[in-house]
């Protein structure tokens, strides 16, 4: 090995050692460059009357246990491997809204008899309009022997938390609240058109039950 080669290898080793860390700026944080790209945009005309808004809070927790499981002489065994803990907890805040699909209204939904008016509204539906991870309160506990949670793992836990909120929608009572609020909202507007309050009736289709609601739960954002 001649002197030039030796010099080259020394420089290579030094650059490899110091090149692993990001370049820190004066504030101590690494320089960040952001780019944004729109993948999909779909605008759709619709007619939805949202009358109720629920704010749901859930703390998602995950305890990453690794265990050895198997069979020994046909007997099941399972024990936890002592390779350190890995736990995470984060709050999710979701907004659920109950709405009436006004696109479904036709002449048949309005019954006018003299001064009396009956409006038959379609059954309420529920949609999750937003969800937000409270990033300021994410708590992560990872032993030295374990790797930190990856972004992919976090996204999976967030998805499971979101699913749990959606599966619980029939228990929140949004549909009843949506009906009440629809009447509370529409009756004053209709009375301004010349009807007496006692002559206006808001009713809903009768075929309502919780299983229908669960079917009508629609996700505003597409499931992938």
């Amino acid at each position: 090995m001649n002197r030039n080669s030796l010099f080259f290898y020394v420089i290579l080793c030094l650059t490899t050692m110091f090149g692993c860390e990001g370049k820190e700026n004066a504030n101590g944080s690494a320089e960040e460059v952001d780019t944004l790209q729109m993948l999909v945009m779909q605008a759709r005309q619709c007619s939805r009357l949202y009358t109720t808004e629920y704010h749901i809070h859930k703390i998602v927790t995950h305890n990453d246990l690794i265990s050895l499981k198997g069979k020994l002489f046909n007997q099941d065994y399972q024990f936890r491997l002592p390779i350190g803990d890995r736990k995470i907890a984060f709050p999710i805040d979701a907004t659920l809204k109950g709405y009436i699909d006004m696109d479904q209204l036709s002449e048949r939904n309005f019954i006018r008899e003299g001064n009396k008016l009956t409006i038959i509204l379609p059954n309420p539906k529920v949609v999750m309009t937003s969800s937000k991870i409270d990033q300021a309160n994410v708590k992560e506990f990872v032993s030295l022997t374990r790797a930190h949670f990856s972004d992919r793992e976090l996204a999976e836990f967030e998805r499971q938390g979101r699913e749990a909120i959606i599966n619980n929608i029939p228990n929140y009572g949004i549909e009843q609240q949506t009906r009440k609020n629809a009447a509370r909202l529409l009756i004053p507007i209709v009375t301004k058109m010349g009807f007496n309050e006692e002559d206006v009736t808001i009713s809903f289709s009768d075929d309502f039950n919780p299983s229908i609601l669960l079917k009508s739960v629609e996700l505003n954002t597409s499931e992938k």
Binding site: T15, C20, G22, K23, E31, E32, V33, D34, L36, Q37, M38, M41, Q42, A43, R44, C46, S47, L49, Y54, H55, I56, K58, V60, T61, H62, N63, D64, S67, L68, K69, G70, F73, N74, T95, Y99, M102, S106, L117, M128, T129, S130, S131, K132, I133, Q135, A136, H148, D151, A155, E156, E158, A164, L185, I189, V190, K192, M193, L219, N220, T221
Partner: protein
């Protein structure tokens, strides 16, 4: 000689029976197996209703968006990347709770309805829990994820809240309200917006 042959025969039978039994046992039973099992599911925790709000938002245009947001932390020899895909749906329409008494009136036989201005109905429109991780290198803090969320939100608003979309929402809103009024028996109606964008 005969006795020896019998002993050999009995031993052979014993070996065959023992071998067959052992083969059958091994075939239908497990002597030893081991698998590493990981727990990928979240724990069961309750959902709490924080608040219930009465609203009156009539949506006329729904804009569904998906944004790829990318952050790069520059290093001397290697860069760290965090790429996420956010989804959101922006609702454009009117807030019926802003209707005042003087916004609905009759002029001779014509019913006039002045609706509140077309606007973005809810500033919280991103479904962050439904977002997807596309690529990650290096370690990123929750603050970096929050910054990505805010950038995705700003970008979605810039793309969706265009004069064209406001116009589209207003036109459809006018059609919907007029149709409803006609169904209620009002044949002469004028629908307008107080400050349409």
């Amino acid at each position: 000689m005969k006795k020896r042959a019998i002993i050999i025969l009995v031993c052979s039978l014993f070996v065959i029976i023992a071998g067959t039994s052992l083969w059958y046992y091994l075939r239908h039973n497990t002597i030893f197996s081991a698998d590493i099992e990981r727990n990928d599911a979240i724990e069961v925790t309750p959902e709490l209703i924080r608040s219930i709000k009465d609203i009156g938002q009539w949506e006329f245009l729904s804009v569904k968006e998906e944004e790829l947001v990318d952050t790069v932390r520059k290093g001397i020899f290697s860069d760290d990347h965090l790429v996420r895909i956010y989804q959101g749906t922006l609702s454009i329409g009117v807030d019926l709770q802003q209707i005042k008494d003087h916004n609905i009136f009759f002029q001779s036989d014509t019913l006039h309805v002045i609706l509140p201005p077309i606007q973005l109905l809810d500033e919280n429109f991103i479904d962050e829990a439904g977002s997807r991780s596309f690529h990650e290198s290096g370690r990123w803090s929750p603050a970096a994820r929050e910054a990505l969320y805010q950038k995705a939100k700003r970008q979605m608003m810039a793309h969706a809240l265009t004069p064209r979309n406001y116009q589209s929402a207003q036109e459809y809103g006018e059609v919907q309200v007029r149709k409803m009024l006609q169904n209620m028996g009002f044949n002469h109606t004028v629908v307008s917006f107080s400050n349409g964008k």
